[in-house]
Chain length 343, copies 2
DNA sequence: TAGGTTTCTTTACGCGAGTAAATTTTATGT
DNA sequence: ACATAAAATTTACTCGCGTAAAGAAACCTA
């Protein structure tokens, strides 16, 4: 790579000995030009290191090669992991992913949708905030931009939804817990952040009925995305009040469970499935840290890869078919029970 | 906001009754036009919802309003938190932040620098991978794009560095630990991911000398960014081999400590500062989860806000002064000791 | 080697704005 | 009310590339 900067495609075409329209064609699809000319262009490319101006490129193109990725809360490593997989797949497919986090706030989410509109993305992968989302803003957005929802569903919006099967999560944990010990009570936030929580509660109730168990749903106070702290405070109150109906607690999600376990430790309540333990705690999500809780957390794992992969794949289909799918599909993947020490 | 989409600034100028150049001026700086015309434009803006095409805007502009934010590993909530602060500050200042994570891989980092170049950002806030970084790639990048490094320093690169004062972290923890109990040994990775780790080790050694203590540095195997698992494995080996030189362990960072604590729990080693405890464990970073470990982790906290704020502020200065500062500055903020239950 | 196909080259225009220069309109102070 | 300064308009060109059309050149294939 030598120096002497090339200003524009005109100049680059000149020094590579190829016409500009052909060079332009090459940059859209290197395979669309004759191998010999392709070789000449690529030779020049190595010598002079030129890259087309993306702003000029995208100005005329009807659809850009950008893909927007929006998650509700990036400080949650669960989303960070998903993002990693999605990003890679987009890049491999020749797209340019742009990452956004709503940071748990509706105003942020709306701003992000606004920014996304102006970058004219080929498509958007959106994990909405959920309860806090501005439904009408999202609806309007989905009408203008090809969007696939993931993680958290909003009825009827976007071209498709890909997520995890909450029933599969809960049925496995409940079945396992009730088979190996006391029936679990269900521990959750009173006003959960997203619809998955509601589905999990319903799944719990349905499982209880199916197995003929008495259901106990414990709903704790707290709003926002600081789930660990909320879980911790809830557990402290519960434990100090001796208010647990059973010796087995099934948390709605791992982040609540992390807080719950920290409260147990602080209160000197031993958690686990061995004889000397007073409590069993299990949960859902297989949060990246759930392996390192004390004790390690028995949980139900998302199929991270399948969800990410399917979401991306579906978006590509949407893009290929011009931005709309004939009918909206909802795909959910089952969970995998991860047995660790907490239950 | 009514319908009837406006195609371009020409059209919008027409319906708002203002000439296009003036409208253009307005979008660069609403305060640069007379209040009365500003009002007319904004009235039209509410009725017709037009936004200038960012691609056309940025095509000619020498410097865009984009700011690149690069972190080494987004699945680490520490960075996610910093990003949140930085993003907000950028938006408030009228910039458009673009977020990138290197996901712990050099190839990613290099690709990101490449992408960044092509979006012609006004400036970049870069937290490099550190040891894994391609130094020469970063050097070249910094020469072409106004860049401020943060979190992890690379000698002489970028217009400035903003981070935390590793000596402040370690001196406080070492002083506290040695004052209240046995001298701490220092627990770290043999080949740490970034230079902060090296500085912390040196600070530990220097403190040991100053306080007249015998230093013990324990270096465990493992590479990559799965610090918790590495810390856990290291601790398991150490504990089962009874190889700890003292009853007090100072981990280089919280993520290692999280792994360490999980190993202690598993091995039945009680950690804390009360009589019945066998071990004290402390660490550095005040990781968002360190409050929820078992026991809660005594650590030294970054001044998240100061670092983020100063980094952004410095970048703005760089941008204002045309991309270069007279001389490169390094700013580090002191730590705050957070006393919890682990030591 | 002729004939038909592909692929390139030439030429030319469009996109949506930035921006400069000259001119006209509006605002300001006294 | 008038001179002056400030802001807006008109006009016209630029930027870097997409893209279409027509013709030239290179590529098969038999």
């Amino acid at each position: 790579m030598s120096e002497s900067k090339i200003k524009n495609m005109e100049e680059f075409a000149a020094i590579s000995g190829i016409s500009r329209p052909t060079v332009s064609k090459y940059f859209h699809d290197p395979a669309s030009v004759r191998p010999s000319t392709r070789a000449r262009i690529e030779a020049a490319l190595e010598k002079y290191d030129y890259r087309p101006n993306i702003y000029a490129m995208n100005q005329n193109r009807k659809l850009t090669k950008n893909i927007g990725i929006v998650v509700p809360y990036l400080a949650d490593p669960f989303f960070a992991e998903i993002v990693r997989v999605i990003e890679r797949r987009c890049i491999e497919a020749g797209f340019t992913p742009s990452l956004f986090s709503s940071h748990g706030e509706q105003a942020f989410e709306n701003d992000i949708l606004d920014s996304l509109r102006s970058i004219k993305p080929a498509g958007v992968l959106l994990a909405p905030l959920g309860r806090q989302s501005d439904k009408s803003a999202i609806e309007t957005f989905c009408k203008n931009v090809p969007t696939v929802l993931f993680d958290s569903n909003i009825e009827g919006m976007g071209e498709a939804f890909i997520g995890s099967d909450n029933y599969s999560f809960v049925s496995q944990t409940v079945e396992y817990l009730s088979r190996t010990g006391e029936n679990p009570c269900f521990f959750e936030m009173k006003t959960p952040a997203n619809p998955n929580a509601n589905k999990r509660r319903l799944a719990y109730l349905s499982m209880a009925e199916r197995l003929g168990l008495e259901p106990h749903v414990i709903q704790i106070d707290g709003t926002g995305w600081a789930f660990e702290e909320i879980g911790r405070q809830g557990a402290l109150k519960l434990l100090s009040g001796n208010a647990l109906p059973t010796d087995t607690v099934l948390c709605s999600n791992d982040r609540l469970a992390i807080g719950f376990l920290s409260a147990c430790y602080e209160m000197g309540v031993k958690v686990g499935r061995t004889q000397d333990c007073q409590l069993r705690v299990a949960s859902h999500d297989d949060h990246p840290f759930s392996k390192f809780t004390c004790p390690s957390l028995t949980t139900a794992a998302h199929d991270y890869f399948a969800v990410s992969d399917q979401a991306v794949e579906t978006l590509f289909q949407v893009i290929e078919s011009g931005g709309h799918l004939r009918n909206r599909t909802e795909t959910v993947f089952p969970a995998r029970l991860i047995m660790r020490d907490s239950a």
